[in-house]
Amino acid sequence: MSYLSPTTLDEALGALDGPGPVAVIAGGTDWFPALGERAFVGTMLDVTRVAGLRGITASGDGWRIGGATTWSDILRADLPSAFDGLKLAAREVGSVQIQNAGTVAGNICNASPAADGVPPLLSLDTVVELSSQRGVRQVPLSDFITGVRRTERAADELVTALYVPALPEGARGGFTKIGGRKYLVISVAMVGAVLVLSGGRIVTARIAVGSASPVAQRMGALETALEGTDLAGALACVTPDQLSQLSPISDIRGSAEYRAEAVTEAIRRTLTQIMRG
């Protein structure tokens, strides 16, 4: 039973290398609700004081989002317009209170099918940096989340950063969340997208959909189909058969049929949002 609050990465990784399980905590915004009213027994590793773990920096041609970077940090950061979708998502994560504490890395580690951050991060081709005393490895976000509440992270690993690779010139991001009320809402469907446009037509498209399958997904076939289209053409591209890789379910937030329609509409709205500028 201890609460560890290391200030260096070495200490943090050392703490994870022990025999027993260690609960990694940053913002706590998913951790405490999951704990519920039970008393916690075990060791907590607070990563929010680890030097160099918080913040967004240019890295090579791309960007590095530190593992303890909060959603509010994302909102305040000066980032190119390809990050607009991620910023829109940041505003929709719970509430200001949640955004001030909750972290981007925590959002992907929690691996909820409805994680607000995942579709925009997928549309940014995000790569996850996992560190342990064994070394450092990088895993594409699309491989990192393996199922509902399941990730590639081993017990001794820490998500130390997310890397967003160099973005094409003029890339623009967008995001749409569909839910049952204005704030504090778990999405029914969600879309993050990054488009590169030329003369009003799509050069490349990266579209990711959340809340419509166990893990948010990039829509590869649709992305290809969107290439070369103008807005009208793009909207016409978004058809149910382009979405067959999804597996929306029926739950308290909506029927599977409704989800499928909501995804279609969310993609269209995101495309419109970006292409109309």
Binding site: F32, Q97, N100, E261, E265
Partner: protein, 914 residues
């Protein structure tokens, strides 16, 4: 490694003062602030980041204290409302503007709202409404409807120039109990127990229906830290509680079999630390799950197992109102509209979970908890404990919202039993999940309705059959069954009417009292059917209602004739300007938009104040002490609605002095007479009358002392009483009179009981002596593609007879509309599935549009100074007004509440929308 973490000592600054505590691993900041540092202004509503009540600033940034490990604030500055309210310049302004706008009703969300608002104002001194919504979107409020909060924050920078209203009858006075709420000093159910009190935790069924058996309870009771284990065997009196004679059927602790998920089977009492680590899974009980009956059709099916022997067909009771011959009238009608409607369980979702504490003092049991009904709590405890009522003292705390559910007991029997068994002070606070799974809900309804009209638009007849899912135990189910047939006609003249209701048992949580007692459900069916009817006869829906509105001298469906005070016609008339404008605006909007449409909906409503054909007394006591102190014993529970203010305004007016001259003794069964429960919109009407009578009686006694006429003025100054009668000024020397045992030299105790009369087998009679009336207009936007229905504005006309306090009237109206909006569009409690505030959605600050309140004063024959009740009336027309706006825009008739986007979209598609 950080030194602080290994020693477990966490040092930080709390409201500018250095503090140091030894937090547990896994301890939340909210709990540490409250339990270790006494910061009771930090409220805990959900422990999951869903409600924001625990919002504090950490280095200036608002966070949910329930989601932050206490160790994480080491070296940081934590600010809470109590500290901010002392000196922070933005908080000082917010204090004024929150009171001025009545942005705090019950006050439980106020610390979260104000702290979040301070952070906003530091960054944006003059925010607009949208910025306020974004900044406060993480804090839920269930009372105010948010608009007053938005006004208060937007207007905070102008707080210095606010004019403070007078307090006299009719003035928009600030709440008299408001300052404590905006300074974080108001004490709620979980804020009052003495340090070191034992903690009680209830063991509940995880199954909706099961048999169970205990293992070795003595062994469990001998565990370290456990002081006692309570089961049915420990109940000295009746192991049952309930609210209606003949329907006292819910066990304090189930015996052998449970009838709903969340039902209590035992209670563990022990030291706080031990109870914190108690895992209910470890409790020695084994369950044998049985097939549950979760719906009304299952419960009514041939051969369905009975929940309660003696309640054949699982029908607990029914209600019936019949006049004329409805079938014949419908057969002769030019047009008939029929329909089947369904509504869902609705959770009260007050932000304060049930909480309180109890102790034994000189052989008497004291129970202090959040409640709507101190007198009834004492009655229940007397039966359960087998004690004389005189040996039980019930004190309320401030109540963080009730809306009906806190009329029933929750924590009270457990606390009293635990205090008696252990001889020690015992406290408890329900978790959010526990609160939602175990306390009462609004009844889901299944309604068949048929309404006829002639081609000239006059209503001919109506039949109504409503089955209400009353859950596992009676609670207020009989009241719903009785009340609905009386109200299901709406405030309209219908000569031929046949309405019946049934309360049907299922293995769901008990359905009970919830703002409106079944009438909001029936109003959805009746008011939306009206619009289809109006359509069929080619009449405007507002004209249709005006044509059929009840008027003075016309009988209700119960054969009751009011010669004065029928205000529905005036309410509908009052909507006309807004209605005409909204129709024009919507037409213009729709001409420009294809996939989003706007519509205008109206709906009316009425509500009888007080118990249905049953006695409903309230008693008030007032006295003068020898030193000239005027005291009012105010026993009416203020659950946020404002009786602490309104009743005092009435009393002061009746006695004839300014409010400031009245010293108020708050509810306490030892010192205040029973004012009856806060329910059925009765406090302003019934308790208001009792307070008026007490004021008048005491005034008469003073005037007698001076032989003065009825029109004389009384002044109280510096302990001296003067009676000014025309030119004559009489000093009245109270000190020469002998004080009674309570210290009063003059005293008045007065009771008011509405003069109702029984109803016959056809529901004909005098169920209520007073109705209040309302009509709402909603402009709503419908997203045809996604099925989202977004109310754009409301105009709400309310006949309140006499607005004792217009500011509080507006507060009730706005808060009621927010609840009606939630019921209409998003709220659906599903046992075992939506037992938290992120799966169960209530409106946030971004979901309630601007609301214009039109206050009408059509005096009631019985109300104090003509005043009528208001609380429940408000949410009755809201949902149908929204549904009618959808019908206006799309011709799609919504018949299922809540009309979630998925359901609306499905209905649109069925109607042929792409």
């Amino acid at each position: 490694m950080d030194k602080a973490s290994t020693t477990h000592l966490t040092g930080f600054t709390l409201d500018h003062a250095p503090v140091q505590i030894e937090g547990r691993v896994g301890e939340r900041l909210s709990q540490a602030l409250r339990d270790r540092l006494g910061a009771k202004d930090v409220k805990i509503g959900c422990n999951a980041g869903d409600c924001g009540a625990c919002t504090v600033l950490v280095d200036g940034a608002p966070v949910c204290a329930c989601l932050m490990p206490v160790q994480q604030v080491a070296g940081r500055h934590v600010e809470t409302l109590a500290g901010l309210a002392l000196r922070d310049p933005d908080a000082l302004r917010l204090k004024e503007s929150f009171q001025h706008h009545q942005a705090a009703q019950c006050g439980i969300c106020t610390p979260g709202m104000m702290v979040a608002a301070v952070a906003l104002l530091r960054a944006v001194p003059q925010p607009d409404a949208g910025q306020v919504q974004d900044a406060l979107g993480g804090v839920l409020c269930r009372c105010t409807g948010y608009r007053k909060i938005i006004d208060a924050v937007v207007g905070a920078h102008g707080a210095d120039t606010l004019e403070v209203s007078g307090q006299e009858l009719g003035a928009p006075a600030r709440r008299f109990d408001g300052l404590a709420k905006v300074e974080g000093r108001d004490l709620f159910g979980d804020d009052v127990a003495p340090e070191g009190a034992l903690v009680a935790r209830v063991i509940r069924s995880p199954h909706p229906h099961a048999r169970f058996a205990f293992g070795d309870l003595a062994d469990f009771a001998a565990r370290p830290g456990v002081a006692a284990v309570l089961t049915a065997a420990d109940v000295p009196g009746l192991n049952a509680f309930g609210v209606i004679p003949g329907f006292i059927d819910q066990p304090v602790f189930a015996v052998d079999t449970v009838l709903f998920r969340g039902e209590a089977v035992a209670c563990v009492v022990g030291a706080a630390e031990a109870m914190l680590s108690l895992d209910p899974e470890d409790f020695p009980v084994t369950w044998e799950p049985l097939d549950p009956i979760m719906t009304v059709p299952e419960a009514l099916a041939e051969g369905a197992a009975l929940l309660h022997a003696g309640r054949a067909g699982n029908i607990m009771c029914g209600g019936r109102v019949v006049c004329g011959d409805a079938e014949e009238a419908l057969a002769a009608s030019d047009v008939v509209v029929d329909g089947f409607y369904e509504t869902s369980f609705v959770e009260h979702a007050y932000i304060e979970p049930e909480a309180g504490w109890a102790e034994v003092v000189d052989g008497r049991v004291h129970v202090q908890a959040c409640t709507q009904a101190t007198g009834m709590d004492r009655e229940t405890l007397a039966q359960v404990l087998d004690m004389d009522r005189a040996d039980i003292r019930v004190l309320p705390t401030a109540v963080g919202g009730g809306f009906g559910s806190k009329i029933d007991v929750s924590v009270q029997p457990f606390l009293a039993l635990a205090a008696l068994k252990t001889g020690k002070a015992v406290r408890m606070c329900y978790t959010r999940v526990e609160s939602m799974m175990s306390t009462t809900k609004r009844h889901p309804a299944r309604i068949d309705i048929r309404i006829g009209a002639n081609s000239d638009g006059t209503l001919t007849g109506m039949t109504f059959k409503g089955d209400f899912n009353t859950g596992s135990y009676a609670s207020w189910g009989p009241t719903v069954a009785n009340r609905v047939p009386v109200h299901a006609s709406g405030p309209y003249y219908i000569r031929d009417y046949h309405a019946q209701s049934r309360a049907v048992h299922t293995h769901c949580p008990p359905s009970g009292a919830f703002r409106g007692f079944g009438v909001p459900q029936s109003a959805i069916a009746q008011e939306t059917a009206f619009d289809v009817l109006a359509d069929k006869v080619g009449m405007d829906p507002l004209e249709f209602r005006l044509t059929n509105a009840l008027r003075d001298g016309l009988p209700t469906v119960c054969g009751q004739v009011f010669q004065t005070g029928v205000g529905i016609h005036a309410c509908l008339e009052a909507l006309k300007p807004a209605y005409d404008k909204a129709k024009r605006d919507c037409a213009a909007f729709n001409a420009d938009n294809d996939r989003v449409k706007r519509g205008v909906g109206v709906a009316g409503g009425w509500y009888g104040c007080g118990n249905t054909s049953l006695p409903n007394p309230s008693t008030f006591k007032a006295g003068l002490r020898g030193d000239g102190t005027l005291v009012l014993h105010q026993g009416a529970m203020d659950i946020g609605q404002g009786s602490n203010t309104v009743i005092v305004q009435i009393f002061a007016h009746a006695f004839g002095v300014p409010v400031a001259d009245v010293t108020v003794q708050s509810a306490d069964t030892d010192i205040t007479p029973d004012a009856g429960k806060t329910s059925a919109s009765r406090q302003t009407f019934v308790s208001g009358n009792a307070a008026r009578l007490a004021g008048e009686a005491l005034r008469a006694q003073v005037l007698r002392q001076a032989n003065a006429s009825d029109t004389a003025d009384i002044t109280l100054e510096n302990g001296l009483v003067h009676v000014v009668d025309g030119d004559r000024v009489h000093p009245v020397d109270l000190s020469r009179l002998d004080p009674d045992a309570e210290g009063y030299v003059l005293k008045a105790v007065e009771t008011y009981d509405p003069p109702i009369a029984p109803m016959n087998e056809n529901g004909q009679g005098v169920p209520y002596v007073q109705f209040g009336y309302a009509a709402h207009l909603c402009v709503a936007e419908i997203d045809l593609t996604l099925g989202h229905v977004t109310p754009v504005s409301f105009t709400a006309a309310h006949d309140v007879g006499r607005a004792i306090n217009p500011l509080l009237v507006e507060g009730q109206v706005q808060g009621g509309i927010a609840q009606g909006l939630g019921m209409a569009l998003m709220e659906e409690f599903i046992p075992g599935r939506t037992e938290n505030l992120h799966d169960y959605l209530i409106p946030t600050i971004g979901d309630v549009p601007p609301i214009e309140t039109l206050i009408l004063e059509i005096a009631d024959a019985h109300g104090p100074y003509g005043a009528k009740g208001l609380g429940e009336h408000v949410l009755i027309p809201t949902a149908p007004a929204i549904f009618n706006a959808v019908y206006d825009a799309t011709k799609v008739r919504l018949m299922r509440a809540p009309a979630t986007p998925a359901r609306v979209r499905a209905a649109l598609k069925e109607a042929g929308y792409a």
